[in-house]
Subunit: 234 residues, 2 copies
């Protein structure tokens, strides 16, 4: 579950050691994260303020200022998850960082797999507010999370089967869905060609509720002998 549907989440790395930065950058980019870097505290704070990362990996041992100060300064205005990465193993340091606003504390040497897992945990916490699967086709809006369908700004009431059918058509917009595919997706079990009349009924219902002129469909086009296709644009 990534945050941004297209690319991965934006991650800012604040670390002064070039080889660690390089390692983190390469590995995280391989996992489709969008990486920004800073090699000092002030630069890190500045970067955080302009790129608005979804997560920050912060090394506490910085040349220009204390990592704890960086933490505090960022926490003054942002609640972005911060994973502290450091060589300091003393418990007081861990407690200070965690109570200072850090969301996790990983000591070097660290396993990259574990760090990735902890990054996923931190991103999971904010994921709900960022993820928003909404399909838009001109005047038609399908909100999969809220299970809402709007046409020209007003809500359209759909029965469960109607909604499921529209959803499978719209998520595969552009390509033809065979009758068999639709029957299996929407009705689930093993339905045969004889049941394809169900489809015509519910396609009819959908067109009646969505199309202005059901004889000239804007959204659902029938592909004779094959199935149906959801048009991405007029």
């Amino acid at each position: 579950m990534t945050i941004h549907s297209g690319g991965g989440a934006r991650i800012l790395i604040i670390d002064d050691e070039p080889q660690i930065r390089k390692l983190l950058k390469v590995t995280l980019q391989a996992h489709r994260f969008d990486i920004h870097e800073a090699e000092a505290g002030e630069a890190g704070i500045y970067q955080a303020s302009i790129v608005h990362p979804d997560l920050i990996v912060l090394d506490l041992g910085l040349p220009d200022m204390s990592g704890m100060d960086v933490l505090r300064r960022i926490r003054e205005w942002s609640s972005v998850p911060i994973i502290v990465l450091t060589a300091k193993e003393r418990e007081e340091d861990k407690i200070a960082a965690l109570d200072g606003g850090a969301d996790d504390y990983v000591t070097k040497p660290f396993g990259m797999g574990e760090l990735l897992a902890r990054i996923r945990v931190a991103l999971r916490h904010v994921a709900s507010s960022v993820q928003e699967p909404v399909l838009r086709f001109g005047p038609l809006v399908i909100d999969l999370a809220q299970r809402l369908v709007e046409l020209d700004g007003s809500r359209v009431k759909l029965t469960p089967t109607e909604y499921d059918l529209l959803k499978t058509l719209a998520t595969n917009a552009g390509k033809v869905m065979t009758q068999r595919q639709l029957l299996q997706q929407v009705w689930g079990g093993h339905h045969y060609e004889s049941d394809s009349h169900y489809l015509r009924i519910y396609i009819g219902h959908l067109r009646k509720k969505l199309e202005e002129d059901p004889t000239r469909p804007r959204f659902i086009e029938t592909e004779p002998g094959i199935g149906y296709r959801f048009l991405s644009q007029d």
Copy 2:
């Protein structure tokens, strides 16, 4: 989910070793947490469903079932923060637990100060997610902190179940809550689809107390065949 302001947060400890349990219990109680205990997996899942803890400390090495299974079972219906506490240091175990729904992973032997700090971090997350403890929907005001509901300025008396149901609906305003989700959130993990009559009863009670015209709901909308949705606007 709510952190109780008077006493500390409720913490459930699931661990089979009596001395560890004792140590955790005494220390956490000294920090004014409200402690519940379970010494096996099944018992832990059951406890979690009835005491609704604000946080769970889970030992992965349990006698009756795999700790990972406990994790998964609880995650089926609850998003309570879970801190895994274990002797397993292998990176694959950490990754599996974190990706399996754990919020943190602490290996034994552990420093009690660090564990406490990590508990504070986890609790901070749920506290910040309920940043606005007062929900307002037109004439309806729900004060989550005081467990109080007002309609048109006058107090509405709700039973515990009615309040819990309203709370879960209102905190997820806009999106559909399936009957299964509602049953698991409000009643705990043991209820299945067959118990959906409960829902209808209590939805009826809520509508009778909140809606002027229960046949034309302003707040609680039923989504036939799916569940219910709390309307964000009139």
